[in-house]
């Protein structure tokens, strides 16, 4: 069991080794992967652990990214000071997205509603050009950490890796605690959970806010990484990619979120020259995973070695 913890330290160490060999572009991809690790971890909390069909993750991501971008451009705050506000903005959006769920909207009703919420947010990025730059996008200065301007991708890497490791460990602790078990109970049977005196609506709110916070922080990192935000980056294509991460990695599994991000993030870059191929491939891969491997690739890893097994994960 000691080994389970250490894996969260070993994996980032491994990520350090190729770093020495990479050029700027590959380093950019590695950094992007780190951003999507957070996106996947946050998304998986609501979809995988709480078991709700909520499609609002792209909205959280966009709100976090734009919060960071607007704070740096309008209030000229240094980037590091915008990380927490971006997370809080995401958490606030998460609370808003949980309102329909608290009112008893479930399943595909919730899915449709959160889908509409996400599209509404994208519309508002376009329609508030004074803040967000509208459809032209918002250019953000290079990220700054305590006066240190991170110009190169390698500089950002260390900061991103630190944030990701902290968030993943933090999330692991939460999911292994009674909170995580309450999520699992709600996922398995919400009425039974309520009958066992689990305050379900409180946990709904908590899961959505936590998910929004993590994804919002991911959004702030995304802003620092790309330097230019445009509304198209937060459309339904983005949603499918985020879904692919948690479906391929493994629903409700922290290991799965990380694994999915590592596998999925860089693939669109490979198919840049063939429009349509990327979508076709994502579609087919998700279909195959649902039919053949409903618990994702992390279930294979968990079978191979207990280190990769999530302890809150009921294997039935």
């Amino acid at each position: 069991m000691k080994l389970t913890r250490s894996v969260f330290w070993i994996a980032p160490m491994l990520a350090l080794i190729p770093h020495l060999l990479l050029n700027e572009y590959y380093q950019y991809l590695v950094n992007l992967t780190l951003v999507y690790v957070l996106v996947g971890v946050g998304f998986n909390i609501v979809v995988g652990n709480l078991g709700q069909l909520a499609f609002s993750n792209v909205a959280f991501f966009g709100i976090g990214a734009y919060a960071s971008g607007i704070l740096t451009t309008q209030l000229s705050m240094p980037w590091w000071m915008t990380i927490i506000p971006a997370g809080l903005a995401g958490a606030l959006a998460g609370c808003a997205a949980s309102i329909p769920a608290l009112r008893g909207v479930r399943l595909f009703y919730l899915a449709i509603m959160t889908l509409a919420f996400g599209e509404l947010m994208r519309w508002s990025y376009i329609r508030t050009p004074s803040l967000t730059g509208g459809s032209m996008g918002l250019s953000v200065p290079a990220p700054e950490l305590f006066g240190w301007v991170m110009e190169r991708e390698h500089d950002k890497f260390y900061v991103f890796l630190f944030i990701v490791v902290v968030v993943v460990i933090f999330t692991n602790r939460i999911l292994e605690s009674r909170i995580g078990r309450a999520f699992q109970a709600i996922k398995n049977d919400e009425k039974a959970a309520a009958a066992m005196a689990i305050p379900t609506s409180r946990y709904f709110l908590l899961a959505f806010a936590l998910s929004g916070f993590i994804v919002g922080v991911g959004g702030a990192m995304y802003t620092a990484l790309v330097g230019h935000l445009s509304p198209e980056a937060f459309d339904l294509v983005q949603l499918i990619q985020q879904f692919a991460i948690i479906m391929v990695g493994g629903l409700g599994s922290l290991v799965g979120s990380v694994l999915g991000a590592v596998l999925i993030t860089a693939t669109p870059e490979l198919f840049r020259d063939w429009p349509g191929f990327e979508e076709l491939m994502f579609g087919v891969v998700i279909v195959l995973v649902i039919l053949l491997l409903p618990r994702g690739l992390s279930s294979l890893l968990a079978r191979a070695h207990s280190v990769f097994k999530d302890r809150y994960y009921r294997d039935d």
Partner: protein
């Protein structure tokens, strides 16, 4: 003064609403039969328009045979879609079903882009554009066609549902699949057929849409959300609700777009979805939709 526009807005709203009603209806049929919400339906609708274009331009078929061919292809596609991808996981979690539909729609979008790349395509027109005037009200020929096609379709599907053996079996399936299987109905076969019919209807909606829209694989999401808005407003699973909802969405888009701000045309359906699900989740004609604990 602004009220003078009202008849015009109602007419164009009803015409586009007919289209939304058709799309919502094709989704409702699938939902009623299998309780699956087809999140890939928007892309299937767009495939209808793309297939027609391919048949007319690449295979140089005349319009009508090309239309029938693309509807037939989509029928077979829907049949196989249910048989191969939906039926095996029908008892599984809702998330898998939703994801399956999304993934298939996404793959279809990729296929459409493989064929045409990023360029936008115009669907070939079966008849030239034409405009009629009735007093101050302008009606395009497209709008007349929308209304005629959808009304004919509604009447004929009413006849099919109430008069034929197939229609009665489908009605039994809509009530309860378990009961239908108990009285000896081959549920899987009829599910396949209903999915085929739903996809073919959606494709017809896509062809009508192609008359007024430049084809774009990404328009699938646009279509899907309008269908959802119509279904939500009318009440999920209600057939006449889908039609009424579609018409109301069409009219509402025009009214909000004119009297409030043009920016509202794009977001009318999102606002309707959010407001209806928060205030009255069962819509106009639907049944219990929320979980109470």
């Amino acid at each position: 003064m602004m009220l003078a526009l009202l008849p015009q807005l109602l007419v164009s709203g009803i015409a586009i609403g007919m289209l939304y009603a058709l799309i919502a209806l094709s989704m409702t049929i699938l939902y009623r039969a299998t309780t699956v919400v087809n999140f890939g339906h928007g892309d299937i609708v767009m495939v209808g328009a793309y297939l027609l274009t391919i048949f007319v331009v690449n295979a140089t078929l005349p319009f009508l045979p090309a239309l029938l061919a693309s509807l037939a292809v989509l029928f077979v596609f829907g049949y196989l879609l249910h048989r191969v991808f939906i039926w095996p996981i029908l008892e599984g979690p809702h998330l898998s079903l939703a994801m399956m539909a999304i993934a298939i729609g996404y793959a279809l979008r990729g296929l459409m882009r493989l064929e045409y790349g990023q360029e936008s395509v115009r669907m070939p027109r079966p008849f030239p554009e034409k405009v009629f005037f009735i007093h101050d009200v302008v009606i395009t020929l497209d709008e007349v066609v929308f209304c005629v096609v959808v009304i004919v379709l509604l009447l004929s599907s009413y006849l099919v549902f109430s008069r034929t053996r197939f229609g009665r079996i489908v009605q039994a399936m809509f009530q309860t699949q378990r009961g239908a299987s108990l009285v000896g109905i081959d549920v899987r076969l009829y599910n396949n057929l209903i999915w085929g019919a739903g996809c073919a209807l959606g494709a017809l909606g896509g062809v009508l849409l192609g008359l007024i829209l430049v084809l774009d694989p990404d328009a699938g999401a646009w279509t899907l959300l309008r269908g959802f808005a119509a279904m939500t407003l009318g009440g999920f699973g209600s057939l006449h609700g889908a039609v009424v909802g579609g018409l109301l969405i069409g009219i509402l888009e025009k009214l909000l777009g004119t009297y409030v701000s043009t920016a509202f045309i794009d977001i009318t359906c999102y606002i309707v979805i959010i407001v209806v699900l928060l205030v009255r989740p069962r819509g106009l004609f639907g049944q219990h939709a929320t979980l109470r604990i």
